[in-house]
Symmetry: C2
DNA sequence: ACTGTTCTAGAGCGACTGTTCTAGTATGTG
DNA sequence: CACATACTAGAACAGTCGCTCTAGAACAGT
């Protein structure tokens, strides 16, 4: 990837926000990590740090939206699928050395009561996740109301467990939270995914 | 409360961290909010901002440990108790204008991969919550393993739902997450709380 | 080849950061 | 009373913050 492009700047910003959050993210770090000089950065993002964070958050949000459908694809029972998703997340987190897996909720927690534009960016990411998740589970045979409830519960539990797992350096929170949510939905069948269907949903 | 005491400084710091998080918390804000001059602050907390945050976090942690037992006291069934706890949290959050209810996980998310001493402080708070919660639910008749699993699931789900609720300005995440966790534990009886027992556990 | 636009490049700005320092004021203890 | 300790008070420091500015390089269309 060529250095100094819009894309590299956003990639660097997301990577830094995953580790440091938003407030502790500095322009100097973005310069160093992206290879783009300050002038270029302000050329591409004239509104500065806030704009970069907003766009980086939204950018990374759409990437994460594809994760749940991917890990759920082979599952034919909702409870088992949820358990599998959390177990997968636990393994990923452990092998990543308990690094932050998702900057969205970290940043959302920081700014939800202090930076309105960023809060709105995070809200749109959450909103998209819920909409896409509802559509996905509906396509797998769940009623829309149930589908939305399932998605919200999974995201809340997963994000909370991410924080605790990172803090305690332990997979246990992810596994326990996964089992707790899954139990409610045991025995609910999932329709198989149509062959060759888009993974976008 | 006399201004400039250790206590007022910690109180001010927690209040500020609830809104701004750790990185965006400044000494100047602590001075303004606590009424204590810089000299006094560094007299009481010679290690500076990090020490204040650590102690404030631990301080507030013990306060929150009493919340779940309080709202669960009258409940005699685990699933219903969990639903009641999340519904209570949703009402509290709405009437507080979706202000942050718990600085611990917000700060934990910020620092878990970048500030080791603060991470350890947050980890000890989470650890205490789990220990106290396990003891509490065990005293209400649950096996210790189940008790610990329930506590971890509740905390993860609650903290994740806090972030989403604050970001979306909606009670829905708290209610949905509560229902999802509660369903797994429906039908499990809780022993009544012994009359006049300590609320500390 | 010429001209206008897009982008690179980084020195420098004022504001603010956490922290240190010296001085002075209370508050005990003998 | 004297004297040490505990605390108040805020000016000042080096460093960093996000950001602006001017100047030149690269590339487009004609």
């Amino acid at each position: 990837m060529a250095r100094g492009t819009r894309e590299t700047i956003l990639t660097a910003a997301i990577e830094l926000m995953r580790v440091h959050g938003y407030a502790a993210l500095s322009m100097k770090q973005i310069v160093a990590a992206s290879g783009a000089p300050i002038g270029s950065i302000y050329h591409h993002f004239p509104e500065g740090k806030g704009q970069i964070a907003r766009e980086a958050l939204v950018n990374s949000g759409v990437a994460y939206a594809a994760v749940i459908p991917m890990v759920m694809a082979e599952q034919l029972e909702l409870g088992a699928g949820i358990r599998a998703a959390f177990a997968q997340a636990a393994d990923d987190m452990e092998s990543a050395g308990y690094a932050n897996m998702c900057p969205v909720s970290t940043v959302a927690g920081e700014v939800a009561n202090s930076d309105e534009p960023l809060r709105l960016a995070a809200a749109s990411v959450f909103g998209d996740w819920i909409t896409l998740g509802r559509m996905y589970f509906h396509s797998r045979g769940l009623a829309e109301d149930l589908a939305e409830e399932v998605v919200i519960a999974i995201i809340c539990s997963l994000e909370g467990a991410f924080v605790m797992a990172r803090t305690l350096r332990s997979k246990t929170p992810l596994l326990a939270a996964g089992r707790a949510v899954a139990g409610t939905y045991d025995g609910i069948a999932l329709l198989p995914v149509p062959a060759g269907s888009q993974t976008l949903l």
